[in-house]
């Protein structure tokens, strides 16, 4: 029995040496990779060990998400208690296809309609949409002192829209101070994400005039890159962190957004306050 004991010890040590990769320590020894065993983070990462992502994100999008991360978490990665938002997941999608159509009619002015296709496969069924925005990055050359008033026409083409008139978002902003523009599309996307639609095809165009020189008519909106789509979600799975449980406050997304309204908010240069918490809200 001593000999067999020795053999089994040698076997075990060889086994441990061969498993130098930390991932094998996380996987069950019987070989079948039962998904329930690993929390989603490790499951996802264990599937990807060593590989590099197939598609690299746009550098501006990465810059924006890093700013968002610094707003919400400390250097050690601990969520800051000061943040008052209720979402524990934020996903940024770049359009997987974009084409510009010739203006269908003069009403939209010389700006072409831009078609955008977003693939939302990464959104899980446990993730519920709380807010969604289209994020435009303005290139620096757009900086000008004049105030610009824009109207944004945004139509969801697929899945087939319910035949509603395209929502309009009259809003004004001065180009020089803002590097990003957020256009709130929550009311448009909420029903689609809730019905597990994962491919969103929309067309957007801006019609802008300078307030000091309306006679110049519309001008070309200097949007350097196609917009990103940002989804603010509440992941209801057990492994996700639910800070609002400690707040004991029930939060409901806007129940009845006004039909077709698409609110728009220029975002300051720092983009640090991704969402302004109104001053009057008292934290309990």
């Amino acid at each position: 029995s001593q000999a067999s004991m020795g053999e089994s010890q040698i076997g075990a040590s060889e086994n441990l040496e061969s498993e130098a990769d930390p991932w094998s320590l996380l996987l069950p020894t019987d070989g079948n990779d039962s998904p329930g065993l690993l929390p989603p983070l490790f499951k996802v990462l264990s599937d990807r060990r060593g590989e590099t992502p197939k598609l690299q994100p746009d550098s501006r999008a990465l810059y924006y998400m890093k700013k968002l991360y610094k707003t919400y978490a400390t250097k050690e990665g601990v969520p800051k208690p000061s943040r008052s938002h209720l979402y524990n997941t934020v996903r940024l999608f770049s359009p997987c296809a974009q084409q510009e159509q010739a203006p269908s009619n003069q009403a939209t002015g010389p700006l072409p309609m831009t078609d955008l296709l977003f693939n939302l496969d990464r959104v899980t069924v446990m993730e519920h949409l709380l807010k969604s925005v289209l994020l435009y990055t303005l290139n620096n050359s757009a900086a000008s002192s004049s105030t610009v008033t824009c109207v944004c026409d945004l139509v969801v083409k697929e899945p087939m829209s319910s035949g509603r008139a395209p929502p309009r978002a009259p809003y004004s902003f001065t180009l020089k101070r803002h590097r990003w523009i957020e256009i709130d599309v929550t009311s448009l996307l909420q029903p689609l994400v809730a019905s597990s639609e994962r491919s969103i095809h929309m067309s957007v165009n801006f019609t802008c005039t300078k307030d000091q020189a309306p006679e110049d008519g519309v001008f070309n909106m200097p949007l350097s890159v196609p917009p990103s789509l940002i989804l603010y979600l509440n992941d209801t799975s057990t492994q996700a962190y639910h800070s609002w449980q400690s707040l004991q406050s029930t939060w409901r997304p806007s129940q009845h957004p006004s039909q077709g309204s698409v609110a728009a908010h220029p975002v300051k240069e720092e983009a640090s306050e991704v969402e302004k918490s109104p001053r009057h809200r008292h934290r309990r």
Binding site: K75, E76, G77, C96, R122
Partner: protein, 135 residues
């Protein structure tokens, strides 16, 4: 009692005090008492850095050390822990002594690049040990 104490009487007194300190030693906390320890790692050590953009450093912490016999007030342990300790000491030493394990955690925010090139910010529960307990 000053007069009562003479040089020859000091002997037994010293012995008694020596036994007294020995007696109290059993209630002192163990040298390597159960407590929280740091373990700072970077995701590049785990070859995750091409997926995880932030944080760069991750300190999950861990609990290590012996559980003192009188665990009640210091570790928020249930009475069961003391019962288990008594069983181990008086009845059956094959029953393990209470173990030093994490009793409270904090979440971790992670920024990852998804296979389709999208970027995800997620907050995961119970990723950093913040307090130890004896169970």
């Amino acid at each position: 009692g000053q007069k009562a104490i003479s040089s020859e009487a000091k002997g037994p007194l010293l012995t008694a005090s020596f036994n007294l300190s020995e007696y109290f030693k059993q209630f002192l906390f163990p040298q390597n008492e159960c407590e929280l320890h740091d373990f700072r790692l970077s995701f590049s050590q785990l070859k995750w850095d091409n997926w995880i953009v932030a944080p760069h450093r991750y300190n999950p912490r861990y609990c290590k050390g012996d559980c003192p016999r009188a665990v009640r007030h210091r570790y928020g342990s249930p009475v069961h822990t003391m019962v288990q300790n008594i069983i181990y000491e008086k009845l059956d030493s094959s029953v393990p002594r209470p173990s030093c394990v994490p009793g409270k955690y904090s979440p971790l925010s992670v920024l990852t690049i998804e296979p389709d090139g999208s970027i995800a910010y997620k907050e995961y529960e119970d990723m950093i040990a913040t307090r130890c307990t004896c169970r």
